[in-house]
Symmetry: C2
């Protein structure tokens, strides 16, 4: 990656050459490249995903209120999305990892609705929205794919509403850990051992809880032998145990 970055800085020609290679090999190309495209279509897509951007931990990819003009595919790293209220209260509305798409909130009103902040050094591909619109009029599988991604974001959010509206603290945290575990697994990482990229406070904000409550739940799960926690490191010792925590609630 360091070598690639050096190349990137040498000439425009090389930039383009590298991008094509990058897309073809990108481990998150499922976002940008639906199955069954012709070579020509793939070339068009490579041209679409035209700008890479690196962010350091704490950097903001975009802020609420800024004009919207591009979506972002997370190549590597980890982001949080945060909405801020008039009175200053804010809430984390989601966490995004490699292979996920950011920025769809901006399409509706032409300005971003939330802040996207990198929780670790990250890299994204920028996808100009107007080009995406054009291209998805030409390539129906791209159109379909994009619609699915938006729809899944709607479904994801209604899952979070469920968490927030119908589950109690420990259930929310068990669900949160299981969700993280499953997403990491889908990306080829260990589903049982990982480092949290966010603080207890950010987890709490996402789950509608205070950081102390999050901390207490972690301690309780630890005492019950379900997980090991050491700062940001988490080892899940009993997936089944975690699942039972919210299946257990018989109403």
């Amino acid at each position: 990656m360091a070598r690639a970055e050096l190349l990137r800085q040498q000439s425009t020609h090389l930039v383009l050459a590298e991008l094509k290679v990058a897309c073809a090999n990108c481990n998150v190309r499922e976002i940008c490249q639906p199955a069954g495209l012709t070579q020509e279509e793939l070339d068009q897509l490579d041209a679409l995903v035209n700008v890479r951007r690196k962010l350091k931990r704490g950097d903001t990819l975009y802020r609420a209120g800024e004009p919207f003009d591009a979506l972002y595919a997370v190549r590597s790293g980890f982001f949080k999305a945060r909405v801020t209220f008039e009175d200053g209260r804010d809430q984390v509305t989601g966490f995004s990892m490699a292979g996920e798409l950011l920025g769809m909130d901006g399409i509706g009103h032409g300005t971003h609705n939330c802040d996207a902040v990198a929780l670790e050094d990250s890299e994204v591909c920028s996808i100009p929205y107007s080009r995406l619109e054009e291209l998805s009029r030409e390539i129906s599988s791209l159109q379909r794919h994009f619609h699915k991604l938006m729809s899944r974001e709607i479904v994801r959010e209604s899952g979070v509403m469920m968490l927030l509206g119908a589950m109690r603290a420990e259930e929310r945290i068990a669900a949160f850990l299981l969700n993280l575990s499953q997403r990491l697994n889908a990306r080829g990482y260990s589903p049982l051992e990982f480092n949290l990229r966010m603080t207890r406070e950010e987890i709490g904000s996402y789950l509608g809880l205070k950081l102390e409550t999050v901390s207490r739940a972690f301690s309780k799960f630890h005492n019950d032998g379900l997980i090991e926690v050491e700062q940001k490191f988490v080892r899940i010792k009993s997936i089944e145990g975690l699942k039972q925590i919210y299946a257990h609630h018989v109403s």
Copy 2:
């Protein structure tokens, strides 16, 4: 409307004729007809919105798990969307009124993710999704409009997450009443007097509260002179007072 319905049953020819008229005069045509279309494009849209469906109170428009093949534009009436959990718990994830679009949750996985239930006698136009895809490849303003609607659904849901995660009971209920008031106003109804179409329990489910808590908040607002409530009827006496309830929270 009764007369129109009679006509509808007489012949296919009349059905089509009536639909065109219906779309042109439909008070919710902003969903289906973005501005700036040619007559030909409008005709294509009229053909797209090809089936009307009437539902009685309590009828289900679609259920979670059913195959998805169409979106629905609410012409009149009122719906709730409800997600059910494995363990039987469920939650209301939204209320839809005339001029709103239902069913976008189904695109992502090809099956509906929630139930849509009519809370009063209602009428919807059915929009076959495959036709919408085709047509939005041809008419870019339709494409853009559809993308905006999906994006706004994402933004709406993150607003609800905010409600559920960061606000306390009375704030949620004040926000709920204000939201309802504003949507009714946008449709030409009185923003200060209206009938709730849902029960206290459904409001509570949507807001992550128990029905008793909803009832108590209504009583408190009444005692504070902010609203009058009599069963389902609500009269807002102080919009400002309601706004202060959640602006008031200085943290």
